[in-house]
Point group: C2
Chain length 354, copies 2
């Protein structure tokens, strides 16, 4: 059962203890997000002694949230299997459970990615017709934004996994970005049909024949991601993670070079001062915080992962991503599409808690 | 037998017909390179009717080169296996043959990468102790330059391949960049020991124990490439190609955004004019042409691949890369290191031409 929030105030479950600067950024992020989405309510899961004093500073937020105490946390270096066995009362796990029980419409955590995926998959289960969930995000490109998945949930993927990622990515692109027939590109190391390993070539041949809520344009290469060649970029979690982090690293490198350049002479300094407003707008445009909030697609419930090192602004954006997925009924649309394509129904029940 | 050029003028074999703008950029690139390396001589392989008129414009170059006519070419969309069978008289093949026969010390081509690798491997053979050649390049980072390999020669690699890439990368870094004990990072999707697929984890455990001309620092992630976390980044050809092209694409995206920003207001335009000198120096610093020239490491002969779409400046840089590999005796050093490590000798002979 996927949770629809349209008939009641939207309730978000927040892992208050996940992330390098938790619980501070979680509480402040929620306060920021509530300004934008005043219909939301929050359930914070975490250590009362730490979260409660923070909430005291935000009376507007406090009036629309609930705090559930747990002293247990999932640490950033915990193995997913360990977290699954030992973290049954952790803030992360209890927040996920709240989605499974229907108390909350979605969960947001800045904690350990592997543990969050393992727990979310175990508790919420995958959508019928989806074998493996994938991590997706939006990437800024020369032609707007592109959806890329998988970003690290699945190190090795077979052709059918890639096909399912394409389907989920296309529905996401249609539902959230409003593009009616999104173009889909399979990430490869050449655009010729013979290039790449078996999985990616078989996936291409399946996608060419199967009716899809999007259109395969074929293979794309690493540089096509930020060129915006396709609305949806599909790849395995190993390559996807490396591509995403290579993009982030390059943005940091160039920003480092630019800073050096603008500090290198008096003329350059004055030039910078004059162009400052524009450059700050550009900085804001490519601000990684703006793109914070990776979605776990393919689960029976909305789960969003924030960068571990983000600040309150970034965490608020991750909440916004979760909010949008719920109000646009993203999961319901995937289930519908799968039912149309494969005659599947959405009768799976949430798994029992461990 | 690897070719040493130290006792005679350095002779480079050039595939005059490879690349989007060949033979124009090849001839002009060679003319540029000769200004920097006046001791070099060139053998051009290609269509006399096209190359000869171009050479006529560069009498200084013409006096130090030879033109060998062949009407056959390897096209950019030709399958490597097809090129290998059908391209025995192609400009690319004849240029490689010149290295095998000892006439030239190295070969440079801007043609079809897959065909070049297949032919070079077939004709020149791999160095003893190296199972598969790899494509390597230099990448600009926050701390100077980093060597990355493989960039696309091997879609799937086993642990031993990765170990050999690490060895070749470290020797390259030591020989060409002068770093005495280069740090080596294995590209992965997390820095924890449990992360990644089997191959990368087994490679790490081998590299930890094996004496190497460099030092394994462990796993690195996509963002570490341009951060300069390691002197040598080792990965399989699929991930490496995607990482490299993601980096190139991001640099293009940001440069596109910057252009837009500087054109967006009068103040920004004036700011740009003031900072122009500095920004142009920065542009030069990250100019992809400066990093043109991917090296095929692990062959019994020096083979350098230029970007297909490069201009004369970029092609001249690729010639420079080949030049440096030869004069620093890079292949001899790998052979020496392998002999020391494994008791191998360098007695392989070049393969016969097909």
């Amino acid at each position: 059962m996927t949770v629809s929030s349209l008939s009641k105030p939207l309730v978000l479950a927040l892992d208050a203890m996940g992330g390098d600067f938790a619980p501070d950024i979680v509480v402040r992020g929620a306060a920021k997000a509530r300004e934008k989405y005043p219909e939301t309510k929050f359930i914070f899961f975490g250590d009362e002694t730490k979260v409660s004093p923070l909430l005291a500073s935000y009376p507007g937020l406090k009036a629309h949230c609930e705090l559930r105490h747990t002293p247990e946390i999932v640490t950033s270096d915990m193995k997913p299997s360990h977290a699954l066995r030992q973290g049954r009362n952790s803030s992360m796990r209890l927040a996920i459970n709240a989605v499974a029980s229907g108390e909350a419409s979605c969960v947001v955590s800045a904690g350990n990615t592997g543990a969050l995926m393992a727990m979310a998959k175990f508790v919420l289960k995958t959508l019928p017709g989806i074998d493996r969930p994938a991590i997706a995000t939006l990437i800024p490109t020369q032609r707007g934004e592109t959806v890329m998945l998988d970003l690290g949930a699945n190190i090795e993927c077979d052709a059918e996994n890639l096909v399912q990622f394409a389907l989920m990515g296309a529905i996401f692109c249609h539902t959230i970005l409003g593009r009616t027939s999104p173009t889909i590109g399979l990430l490869n190391i050449g655009t010729e049909e013979l290039k790449g390993h078996d999985e990616v070539r078989i996936a291409a041949s399946i996608l060419r024949d199967r009716p899809m809520p999007g259109k395969l344009i074929g293979f794309v290469e690493g540089n096509d991601i930020t060129a915006g060649t396709a609305d949806v970029i599909v790849t395995d979690g190993f390559s996807g993670n490396i591509a995403l982090k290579s993009i982030e690293g390059t943005a940091r490198l160039i920003s480092h070079f630019l800073r050096q350049a603008f500090e290198s002479s008096l003329l350059a300094k004055i030039g910078y001062l004059l162009a400052r407003g524009t450059l700050l707008r550009l900085k804001k445009r490519v601000d990684p915080r703006r793109y914070n909030g990776a979605m776990f697609l393919g689960l029976q419930g909305v789960c969003v992962k924030s960068h571990g090192g983000t600040d309150a602004e970034g965490f608020a954006n991750a909440i916004g991503v979760a909010h949008d997925l719920v109000v646009h009924g993203f999961n319901e649309k995937i289930a519908q599409e799968l039912a149309t394509q494969y005659g599947l129904n959405n009768a799976h029940e949430h798994g029992e808690a461990l």
